[in-house]
């Protein structure tokens, strides 16, 4: 059969790895995968353009209402855990920021690295497009619902942040755990490094679950795929993709 998966770019690496593995096991299944963002994933479930909608946040009340209006009942599956880690350019000397400092940087109150103990230089704030799940979580947990300055560069994906931060000496951004790599440097939050361990034990403050939504209780290939992700083997892939497995 055919399986259409859409949504969060954070969940994308997991979904893609799982899809490749699943298709290898079930050659008759054809999976197509789109990114776009968490909002897109949930939207696709509601208007039936996808079988599975990925989201890096939980469904919002508004979206639930919209779904109910159309007699759709989205069913969430938590497939992984994730931490959102602030990242800076590799050359940056700063390696620890408090939640307060992060908030002030993203509010535009702190504009120079010297204000947070780094070598002087303008801070280039990089953020995600406003409807991404990662942004939503960042906004809830770091910004406490206040607004990111309009002058922040926006990029469409976690990968985009990695790339922009890697190329820009004064940059700061935030990405899901799975996207950390050698090109960029992760920053501790309130003294706690963003790692799998710290996320699981609750000490890292910017953490979230990653979800796959279906339209009603899944059946057929959809069910097969979700079961696969939630299996031992699937969670192995979650780990490979850089996120935190559920077990």
């Amino acid at each position: 059969g055919e399986l259409v998966i859409k949504g969060s770019t954070t969940v994308l690496p997991i979904a893609q790895k799982a899809a490749e593995a699943y298709m290898a096991e079930h050659p008759d299944v054809k999976i197509s995968l789109s990114g776009g963002g968490s909002g897109n994933g949930i939207k696709a479930i509601i208007d039936g353009t996808a079988d599975i909608g990925n989201a890096s946040r939980f469904i919002k009340q508004k979206e639930v209402d919209l779904a109910h209006d159309k007699s759709v009942y989205p069913v969430p599956f938590r497939v992984a855990l994730d931490a959102i880690v602030p990242v800076v350019n590799y050359k940056n000397t700063v390696d620890d920021l408090s939640l307060e400092q992060l908030k002030d940087i993203y509010l535009g109150k702190i504009t120079n690295w010297s204000e947070v103990g780094g070598t002087p230089g303008k801070i280039v704030v990089i953020s995600r497009d406003s409807s991404s799940g990662t942004f939503g979580v960042w906004k809830d947990l770091v910004m406490k619902k206040e607004r990111v300055i309009p002058g922040a560069l926006t990029v469409p994906s976690n990968g985009g942040i990695v790339q922009a931060v890697a190329n820009t000496p004064g940059a700061i951004g935030y990405v899901g755990l799975g996207y950390l790599n050698g090109d960029i440097k992760s920053v501790k939050v309130n003294g706690t490094p963003g790692t799998e361990e710290n996320t699981l034990n609750g000490s890292f403050p910017i953490a979230r679950g990653l979800f796959m939504f279906t339209k009603g209780w899944p059946t057929g290939d959809t069910m097969g795929f979700l079961s696969f992700i939630l299996s031992q083997k699937g969670q192995e892939l979650v780990k490979q993709a850089g996120s935190i497995p559920l077990f």
Partner: protein, 296 residues
């Protein structure tokens, strides 16, 4: 035997019907933009929409002010025009007047190739090659900014400007050119005083259409402009032009949500911009169209 003539009439009506398709398509585009865009006015007035300074479409309550996006588009377009217009026109004059036929035969396809260079490749180039380069060159915080985007847009606008101006310059009647030469004017004087004035309407059309192309271009500004929804204060500020906002956010806006409607409303604004540009271009080329040899 009269059957043939009846077929003829039928065929003609068939062609007319098909010819109306373009209009229908344009009309449908407008209709759908409006159907999906107008509902945003239930939440916000036109004035707040167009002149609002803040674009926070997913906040609760959300802000749907697109002034910064409009200004982003306008600034990027003007800056790119500053680069593309002189280059495009000069190349056009070179091709039509100076280049030997053999050179022109080589350069013209190059201009055509420029026109068909996929925008995503140009955006990609701006993002990965030009951005780091200008960041180092000008020692600025980020290379993804208005200047970068304008540069790339100029590349996209030049072929349009060049080929339409070239047509205009080329179609200046030889009789006028020869008249000027026969009076002992140099080629340069002939170009400056006779040919350019005579082809001015065509050149204006070219410029307007080139800018129209620049303002509507999506991938370049999506990838190279930086995407910050703020009113720029220097050419090295990142901006978020209208098409980039639509492209970046459409995928993520829940179906028929306020945000979704707001993005269609941006589509209306963008459409309006290019529509007006095209009307002006159409007006100029219609009003000043060349009739016969001795008129403008």
């Amino acid at each position: 035997m009269l059957k043939r003539q009846h077929i003829d009439k039928t065929v003609q009506s068939g062609f007319l019907l098909i010819a109306l398709f373009s209009i229908t398509a344009l009309f449908l585009i407008m209709v759908f933009l409006f159907i999906e865009g107008i509902p945003i006015l239930e939440h916000i007035s036109i004035k707040e929409f167009v002149f609002g300074k803040f674009w926070y479409p997913t906040d609760d309550p959300a802000d749907f002010g697109i002034l910064s996006l409009i200004l982003g588009s306008v600034c990027v377009t003007l800056l790119s025009g500053l680069m593309a217009v002189p280059l495009g026109i000069m190349t056009a004059v070179y091709l039509a007047e100076i280049a030997s036929p053999r050179v022109a035969e080589i350069v013209k396809p190059i201009v055509e190739l420029m026109a068909s260079m996929p925008s995503v490749v140009i955006g990609f180039f701006g993002m990965v090659v030009v951005a780091p380069f200008i960041q180092k060159l000008f020692n600025i915080p980020v290379g993804l900014n208005m200047f970068n985007a304008s540069l790339m847009l100029a590349f996209m606008a030049i072929p349009t400007i060049c080929s339409i101006s070239e047509d205009a310059v080329f179609s200046v009647p030889t009789a006028l050119k020869e008249a000027s030469f026969a009076l002992g004017a140099t080629h340069f004087e002939t170009i400056a005083k006779v040919i350019i004035p005579a082809s001015l309407s065509g050149i204006c059309t070219a410029v307007i259409l080139g800018l129209s192309r620049a303002i509507g271009e999506t991938m370049v500004v999506l990838m190279a402009a930086g995407g910050a929804a703020m009113i720029p204060s220097s050419i090295f500020d990142p901006v978020r032009p209208l098409p980039a906002s639509i492209a970046a956010e459409m995928a993520e806006a829940p179906f028929r949500s306020e945000h979704y409607h707001a993005l269609f409303a941006i589509g209306i604004v963008l459409f309006a911009f290019t529509f007006v540009f095209n009307l002006i271009a159409d007006y100029i080329s219609y009003k000043f169209r060349q009739v016969g040899e001795a008129s403008l």
